[in-house]
């Protein structure tokens, strides 16, 4: 802010606390269903996790991001301040301690739309700059709409947050062989997705990996039940094995209540027969994490306490 004020004397800079700058909503993806291939024997169905829950995770990983528009030029080109952070919290004697964390502050702006002198000035100030006009080849062209420019910054920040998470997950898997529960999918990194120690837990279900009867089976899962394991593939992401798991009794009309999707490394073809047992073990570990309850977080039905603890930590250090 001080750098900007010196570079843009008299400019109307955003102040912390102003609503428009404080929280920029992430662009939401459309709700959809995708059919998948079940890799566990038989069709998609519910599997009771019979063995009692057992704490198997040694650490938890989560990342978060925060952004606010610091300045918008006369032409509406925003300069966004973004913070991406991630942490691994290790459990020792039932208490969680920070294993490692990263916090990165950056400015996000479309270089091609800013005055060169301003870009150079920001660059010389030592602040790390990210150019949102530097787009992938297959990305849509960056329009002139100020919201489009802002969304581009947010997407880039989102990538940076994923990078931080992957960095920590990869480091954990390289140094520790014990299970790590990651908030979100693990398919963003080939290395992490292939690691037997990484288990991802996805709480949002804008995309459901089942259709028809298979989807009905998933939505009717009861507490302590999991779906059959299926394969998720994507051109830009690693292939992983996944299944749905109901953590809490579905109450009311919300079919997603207490429903999470779990991702683990996809087994080799020769080891696919054992994926059911692996899913059972991981499900038991996750079911063991429903206590303590993650309240007052609004997503407490799907959130495990270790992940909430990571979020609280990141909220404190960001």
């Amino acid at each position: 802010m001080r750098v900007l004020a010196s570079l843009l004397p008299g400019a109307n800079l955003g102040l912390p606390g102003e609503t428009a700058f404080d929280s920029i909503p992430l662009p939401s993806e459309p709700a959809r269903t995708i059919s998948t291939i079940v890799i566990e024997s038989g069709p998609m169905r519910a599997h009771r996790v019979f063995e009692p829950p057992e704490g198997g995770f040694v650490a938890f990983l989560d990342g978060t991001q925060a952004s606010r528009v610091l300045y918008a030029s006369e032409a509406g080109v925003p300069i966004v301040h973004g913070t991406a952070a991630a942490v691994v919290r290790e459990r020792r004697s039932k208490r969680l301690y920070t294993w490692r964390h990263v916090v990165r502050h950056r400015l996000y702006a479309a270089r091609s739309r800013l005055q060169p002198a301003l870009w150079t000035g920001l660059l010389e100030s030592g602040i790390e700059l990210r150019d949102t006009s530097d787009r992938d080849e297959d990305a849509l062209p960056l329009g002139d709409h100020p919201f489009a420019l802002r969304d581009a910054a947010i997407h880039l920040l989102q990538k940076d947050r994923e990078t931080a998470e992957i960095e920590l997950a990869a480091e954990w898997c390289a140094r520790e062989a014990k299970p790590l529960l990651i908030d979100g999918g693990i398919s963003g990194s080939e290395r992490v997705a292939a690691s037997p120690c990484a288990i991802g837990i996805v709480k949002t279900h804008r995309t459901l990996y089942a259709e028809g009867d298979a989807l009905a089976q998933i939505l009717s899962l009861r507490r302590g039940e999991r779906s059959s394991v299926f394969r998720i593939t994507s051109p830009k992401r690693a292939t992983v094995a996944s299944w749905y798991l109901r953590l809490r009794d579905r109450s009311g009309a919300d079919p997603m209540w207490g429903l999470v999707r779990v991702e683990i490394a996809h087994p080799e073809r020769t080891e696919e027969h054992g994926i059911g047992a692996r899913a059972d073990d991981a499900s038991r570990w996750i079911l063991a994490e429903v206590a303590p309850i993650a309240l007052p977080d609004s997503r407490w039905d799907k959130m495990v306490y270790g992940i909430r603890d990571c979020e609280e930590f990141l909220r404190a250090v960001m």
């Binding site: 459990r91 208490r95 309850i293 007052p296 609280e312």
Partner: protein, 653 residues
Amino acid sequence: MHDEQAAALGRVVATERKPNTPHEFHFWTALDSPVGIGTIVRVDGDQAVNGQLPRIYGIVVEGFSYTDLQTPLHDVLGHDGTPAGASLAATKRAEIRLYSAAVLRQVPEEPLQPVPMGEVFLADDQDVAIALRMDGYLREDARTGIPVGVYRAGGTDAPIYLDADFLLGPEAAHLNITGVSGLATKTSAIEWILSSIFAHFPAQKGSVAALCFNVKGPDLCFLDKPGEIDAADRALYDKCGVPARPFESVQYFAPYKPDGFSLNTLRSNEALLENVTSLTWGLREVLQYAEVLLNKDDVDAKADALIDFIRERVVDREFQDAMLGNRRYFVKSFADLEDWFRDVLSALEGKNSEGWRTHHIATIRKVRNRLSNISTRCAGLVTDSGNVSDLPFGSFEDRTVYVIDVASLDEAAQDLIFARVVTRLREHLEKRDLGVNHVVVFVDELNKYAPSDGQDTYVRKMLLDLAERGRYLGLVLFSAQQFRSQVHRRVVGNSGTALYGRMDADELATPGYSVLSPAVKTKLATLEKGQLMVRHPHFTQPIFVRFPRPAVMRGRDGAERYPQAGDVDLETAVLRSLRTLDPSLTLGWVRDAIGIRDDDEVIRARNAVLRERPADVRKAFTAQLRPVVAAESASRPSGPPLRTAPSDDPYGF
């Protein structure tokens, strides 16, 4: 030097809702930190003020613990209402230990600012000395520290010192201790502190003695006998530099029982009588304090005038009056006074007069009745005969404890003893001829002697005077009671130093304790034996210390080991008394010496010998007894000799 390697045990925190101030700050610690209520900590600020990094010393006065739960209901929901399920959870909730500390001292002291953020360390010995401003009176060249106990927390064992200038005067003085009964805290603490004073009172401040009133049981009856202490106590003695041994010089004083010859004390075992002296006073000693014994309803202005007349014109001097036929009176005892009264009243009745020298006959009768009654009410202490055996005013000795056992006495007699002894002490200290420069007077059960309510008594007035003016003379009051709130405010308010043992919850709820935090009150209500909370002028906040058991025999143990002598006859009582001067005396000799003399005469002789302590006890005792005319066998008067019968006269004619 501070141990720079010592790890921080906490960090100062402040929020808008809970900000730090110049007198209070907050910090958090790890869950396993040794911090507790009463722990002294040091904060190292990292922002220099006037070129100096601030250091703040504080004492923990409140503690908080909470988790990230918003409501207890969330925990219930999280475990489906089954408490046992909580222990099965793989993770424990994030939890905080948050403490509030009251500032003891800021360095530098100016400018006085709110406590800055910084790391918090456990105070070491040096920190404790600085925090409590003891560094000012523990300097090698001007050391006036008197150990009161040891502060103990997280591995720190630091002796805590009181400043003799503020404990025994002249800057401030007096000590008051409060605590529930039955834990032996109050008496033990006083005994310990007296030991500490005797060991550490600075030579440049002169001599010091203690005078204790034993008001209940055998508490103070065995101060010269060793008691049992354990290794932990010895360590505390060593830490404080106080010898773990009983008092070397103790003198006991006790009145007689109403029989006039048995000592009225629990220290009456024959093996302990060598330093027990009787305490008896006559008319002159008592009349000066008549108002102690006579309540205000009795002694109106007229009666007071007559008592003054008797005191000034009759007692201890020759008195003549025309109405009394110019008979010469020498009133020295209650018995003499009774004779005098009888003659005055007879003369008035004979003349059918209602007044004499402006005094109405009714007033004379009333005063006679009240004064004559004193020797009955205080029998054993006050003698009809005028015999006096008193404390050694004028020859008090340094580091000596004088104990007056008043435990078994009538309340009036206790008041009389207290009033007269304290007055005499004050008079001698004013004249600087007591024998010592400072006297600590210990009074237990202050609730009774200086209550906050009730009528104004002579004893309460004396205690107030002692509390307010004693420090200038070197007359220091150490007092104890169960309920501080029920003691006159000026007495406890003038006590520069206050000690608190375990407290009653009801007492802690009274307004006098409102300055203490709830956590400190809780600690006070649960203090274990041997712990005290100390307030002292140099300490800006109360401090918790441990003190050792006194190295003297406890009253209960002493009473078992040295049982009280049973009631004995006069000869045995005399023998026991005189044997302290001459162990070779036997009961047979005493019986022979006493013979057929009456009790009063024997007692008078015994008291005279004890007072004079002659080298030849036998000779002195018999000399005090009136000679008895030796019994002679009556000789038959010799009549005229019988004529012998003529040998030739068979009929005797």
